[in-house]
Amino acid sequence: MAVGFFLFWLFPYPAYQRITAYRTALEERERLLTERQAALAHVATLKKEYDQRAASILQFSAVIPSKTETAELISALEQIANRSGVQISEITISDTKQQTQTDYQVMNIGVNGKSTYSGLVTFLENLERNIRLLDVSKVDAGADATQGSLLNFSIQANGYFLK
């Protein structure tokens, strides 16, 4: 009897322990496989919808782009200035501020220039309505020393992009 127990402990028992461990591992992998298959199918469905609405998504993505897109921003500022009758003398785009608790980063945009008061208001309006979200944080303006009807202005704004 004792020999029987000893032999059972020596041979079939380790095999039984292996089976228990394998069954747990198998269940875990089957669950993982089902989840991965479902996720892959879900991504495929979303991709189909994404492709169908690519043009709208592209436009929507411009509000808060995934990268800094500095070139596009400079180009947009120039177009806005031209539309508003504003003469830009300097654009500065400084290093981004690290936002620790948000999903976005902020870039500081500075614009110096010269225009009439109504030109400045139109410029600000167009900045506020720009497809890429820009929040003006500071405006300084004063009469130009040589041309009294014009204002020298300096604008600070924040632009956003994803982390």
Partner: protein
Amino acid sequence: MIGVLFVGLNSYANSLETQIQSIDGQLITLNRQRDRKTEENLIALSKQAQLTGQLLDQHIKLTNVLRVLERTLQSQVRFKNFSMSTPTQEISFQATANNYSSVARQIASFLAAEGISDVQINNLKTLNSGDAEFTMKIKLQTELLQSKSVPTTP
């Protein structure tokens, strides 16, 4: 009997091991089939959708402030320079008026305007021309800076 049991259990364990290896293979294949570019695009879009609403709600509209200033500005007051800051929600400016009464009317007009919470005047003095020169600081309400429309009441 122990021998038969051992062989049976061992064979079952081996079969389970084979099944695990097969699923591992399928998982590796599925991982290779992942369209990572699409996944990145979808994650970015999801973040953008979330942030756009949030940031649009806090979107600053400084032109609202300018419209209120234009409406409440007295005809005898002329700005020399101004500075607007949204983090401090303040406008400070230097201006001239034809007399002190005009300055007083200007203060009253600003205080009556919707969206302006406080007006502070500094450094009021008479110039050689007889005009009054002053610097003023106006405290703005958040609602005015973020409002989609300009308040209609002066």
